[in-house]
Amino acid sequence: MLTIKQFASIPGGTDLTALYRATVGDYPKFFKMDTACKLGFLLTEQLADEPRFTPREDRAVLMFSTCGSLCNDRHYEETVLDFPSPSLFVYTLPNIITGEIAIRNKYEGETSAFVLERFAPETFVALVEEAFQDRVTQSAVCGWVDVRADDGFTAFAFLVERNGPGKAFNVQNLYGTVNQ
């Protein structure tokens, strides 16, 4: 059975630079990220458990949204007209967010990014459960990071594990935790 070990959220419109400075401060690569990756990074900093920064294959990362990297894609598209920007192009994929989380935390397990028409808790839970089909996976960071605009986003994430002491990871508890 999957259980919730930790939950983190970042209210829409939060000043992410200020949050980074207050809670992390020692990862300058943060400033190169697009808004979605910054959110994924900051959420995982709140979820992080010990041991940190030891390469591990047993933790999966799954991120969900309605628009993937669309906000950044639009910034990149503007530059194509004269000088395409490589640092913006790097972020024009919905799964770079999982890459940034993995790079920071050395998570070498399965990573996926899902784009849904709307937030669907049943789908969210089912896809996270599916990731645990792989016997190697013992825990997963799974989150909803939906960036409609650089200052207009929804972001929350769970650290889920097999048979832990926390609440069961199911649709009911998902609603309960997110709506608190």
């Binding site: 598209e77 192009f89 024009t92 890459g99 790079i103 996926s112 899902f114 784009v115």
Partner: protein
Amino acid sequence: METRVHITGAGVVSAVGCGQGETLDALRRGASGIAPVRFLQTEEKAFPVGEVKLSNAEMAERCGVLSDLSRTSLMGILALQEALEQAGLRNLAGIPLIGGTTVGGMDLTERTFPSYSPLHDCGASTDAIATHFGGAPWATTLSTACSSAANAVIFGANLIRSGQADIVAVGGSESLSDFHLHGFGSLMILDTAPCRPFDATRAGLNLGEGAAFLILESEASRKRRGAASLAVLSGFGNACDAFHQTASSENGEGAFLAMRKALQMAGLRPGDIDYVNAHGTGTPNNDASESAALRRIFGDAMPPVSSTKAFTGHTTSASGSIEAVFCLLALREGFIPANLNWMAADPACIVPTAGGPASLKHILCNAFGFGGNDSSFLFSKSDA
């Protein structure tokens, strides 16, 4: 509860041909499909590409499609059509569809930008494919860059292994676009000459486009329908390199872990592998990193390895499924496709094979995406 996953149908469209027949012919002749840009509307003419040699109108005619669909959907429809026919299926009734793409309907939007085509997004591109075949019970899209189609295959296989589905259609499709042609150009990883995977002088990749779909089926469903098994998907793995957003680590950690997982799932040892279809994009970075990973898996007993990207170009999101079909053709025909354009050994790289007839039972296929998303899968002969 796990069941063997069979492949009962396969379809492919790429720079080397439309359908398995044309594809096999090109692979045997060593005929590359890399050429100057012809169909894509772009100012960027410096880089050769692997385009499907059909216009959208020609593809629409072959599909019997009247509406103006994106090139990504059109190629996907052609490929899925072939796969369904081979599997003896008329449409997607009762068959979920899992597609992989990043570009989606970008080609349509590029004609109308700054307004976006309603068919722009990745989901719409897969939905259009499903709609063409009368609708599927459900359809979804995976978008993990160059491992998208490979991950669609893995997702479908997991559904069957866990008993949640009996039969699924999986694969990917990607058309060229100005957006990503410029993007890869800005990363300076494109070659102005045809790519040379694993070669000492390799200088970058050529972008390609195409689509491929597989019908995956459980043992029970296959028997019930009396469908022939093309091969078994005996193992797969996905792991994260956790190194850089777009470059691969020096010791190929993600690739190594993915290949190791695939072997472990299949219960095979490295010595059982008869051929590896490498990711082999032709960039200095990937080929060295993948070689390091291959050496860690196989040691001194390296099986024949080739990259088929000098035939098709790097078909990005579709590459995992296109190259899967090449592996199926190889298994069926007992033939290894060549690693074209290789001339000089690089000590940092494996020496690829020139291909040819071979006795093949187990084939490993790699597909690595940006974000360090690395996937590997294993095809085995059905009676192996």
